[in-house]
Amino acid sequence: MLIHKTASAGTLESNDVLVTVAPGSGIQVHVESVVLAQFGGQIRETVLDTLSRLQVTDAVVRLNDMGALDCTIAARVEAAVRRAGGDA
């Protein structure tokens, strides 16, 4: 999927994550998280898996994570990608 514009999904509530997706070249993922020390690697992996499933090859993805579970992260990334890609 092609990223045409900047879009976001999610909130800054506890247990949620705010994901912003913007056009870019290649994949860049920036993670800020209250559980970065404990789960930084897993969060990044979930983002990359979701992007790959949606066939996104060029995007800048920023996460402001308040302790979301992987299912939440995947859902927020997908929603942001679809909004940024003009699907939704």
Partner: protein, 468 residues
């Protein structure tokens, strides 16, 4: 004889306060307290340095303390609890000497034994007379019980009562008595009522918290302790408070007459007293306005000192007569050790308060906690900091089931026979990991910034600085 002055500077000079001394404060005004900041600012103005602060708790309203640390006015801190703003600075190493953490019972025990010597106690008093008789139930900053201040008044070398509400002699009631008081200072305000007591405390509406509370009440029901004379304490946290609401129908159905509710008292325990579930409340600290009004108006609602509450050196104390206590946890480990001192990144954000005292004293100690909060599993292989030893903890209650300490096989059998979901603590941990993943262990590796002293004495754990 005149003890009363309206000049704090004169009072501090008259108290004999000098550099290097230990000064004490109580925390009944909580995050509305104005007295600690007033005294430290005046001490700094007088050029006094190298003070050790002996505080029953510190809140973020006391953040000006950090400036007094940086300028050398305060060089030591001993306390039972520290809120996250001050805790963060301590964790980052602002104070050279390690903080000594005690518990609400360990502190008066250390003071009474002479191991901790208070040179000057500064006692914030919502009401006082000109001779220093003081209470917490009158005046604009009424906070209810003054339980944590009583040992300070009794054992300190010099006692300064600071009030904004002078009443005619002789004041009654007087948990702080004139026999112990050297000086009375009248100031315009001792604190902001909005930060002292909340208007009401509310039980959680979170469905996870409510299901934990319901299960905790069932554990107590089937613990063998539900008999006439039942006694109970709960923390003021979300799920802990909700346990009271689930206990009432159980007590009613069984026709049980309880003996006392203990602790930090909230409106929920006051309701239980009024509705006849308990004969007495023993109150070391009031958490809301309902509790303040009740301790003022109801003779069955007794004010008790921190010594009577929980001092292990006293000939007896209330926690040793306590049947069940419901407590929270930031982390609990596979050996049932509990941490309420540090967050999962190692930053100080709390302290024992009465956690270890009540867990050690009560016949049944329940820890209520969700399986995870903001992705962090509550059950760890090892807690970041040991506040309360696992040997004092009987049951962990989560939304998915309860884990019983292997030291209590008869309790485990009784709960299982009652049909409660009893699991091994490792099973609950892996259940949490199915949702969260397995966290990478984080343990700060810097220098020692705090030591945790257990109620009976002895250091149970050390807290190291977080190096970012």
């Amino acid at each position: 004889m005149n003890k009363l002055t309206s000049n704090l500077a004169d009072a501090i000079r008259a108290s004999g306060l000098q550099s290097g001394m230990t000064i004490s404060f109580h925390h009944h005004l909580r995050n509305g307290d104005g007295v600690l900041n007033l005294v430290l600012a005046e001490a700094a103005r007088q050029g006094i340095r190298d003070l050790t602060l002996q505080a029953s708790s510190l809140f973020d309203v006391h953040l000006p303390l950090l400036d007094h640390i940086k300028s050398g006015v305060v060089t030591g801190i001993e306390t039972n609890y520290m809120s996250a703003g001050i805790g963060r600075a301590i964790s980052e190493g602002v104070l050279e000497k390690p903080v000594i953490f005690r518990s609400h019972g360990g502190r008066p025990a250390a003071i009474a034994s002479g191991r901790v010597v208070i040179d000057v106690a500064f006692i914030a008093a919502p009401a006082a007379d000109s001779m220093g008789n003081a209470n917490g139930v009158s005046g604009p900053a009424a906070c209810g019980s003054l339980g944590y201040a009583m040992p300070d008044a009794r054992y300190a070398k010099r006692v300064v009562v600071i009030t904004d509400h002078v009443m005619p002699y002789p004041l009654s009631p007087c948990p702080i008595e004139e026999t112990d008081v050297d000086i009375v200072v009248q100031v315009p305000s001792i604190g902001d009522p909005k930060g002292i007591v909340s208007g009401t405390t509310r039980i959680t509406r979170d469905p996870v918290g409510l299901s934990i509370a319901r299960l905790a009440a069932q554990v107590i029901e089937h613990s063998g302790l539900m008999k006439d004379g039942f006694s109970f304490q709960t923390g003021a946290g979300g799920a802990s408070l909700a346990v009271t609401e689930y206990l009432k129908p159980i007590l009613r159905a069984k026709g049980i007459q309880g003996s006392f509710g203990l602790g930090g008292i909230t409106g929920y325990l006051v309701d239980m007293l009024k509705e006849g579930y308990f004969a007495q409340l023993l109150d070391v600290q009031c958490f809301d306005l309902t509790a303040v009004e009740s301790i003022r108006d109801n003779p069955q609602h007794q004010e008790i000192s921190a010594e009577r509450y929980a001092s292990p050196n006293a000939r007896s104390c209330a926690v040793k007569s306590l049947d069940a206590v419901v407590l929270g946890a930031t982390e609990i480990d596979l050996d049932f050790n509990v941490n309420v001192h540090t967050d999962s990144n190692g930053y100080i954000m709390g302290g024992s308060g009465g956690h270890s005292d009540t867990a050690e004293g009560a016949r049944l100690s329940l820890i209520v906690a969700p399986l995870f909060r903001a992705r962090l599993p509550i059950i760890m292989d090892k807690v970041t900091t040991v506040t309360t030893r696992g040997s004092a903890v009987d049951v962990l209650v989560t939304q998915r089931g309860v884990a019983v300490n292997p030291r209590r096989p008869e309790l485990k059998a009784g709960l299982a026979a009652a049909g409660l979901p009893v699991l091994d603590i490792r099973e609950l941990q892996s259940l949490a990991h199915q949702f969260t993943g397995v966290p990478r262990a984080v343990k700060p590796q810097g220098r020692v910034v705090a030591k945790v002293e257990y109620p009976l004495g002895g250091i149970v754990d050390e807290i190291r600085s977080v190096i970012s």
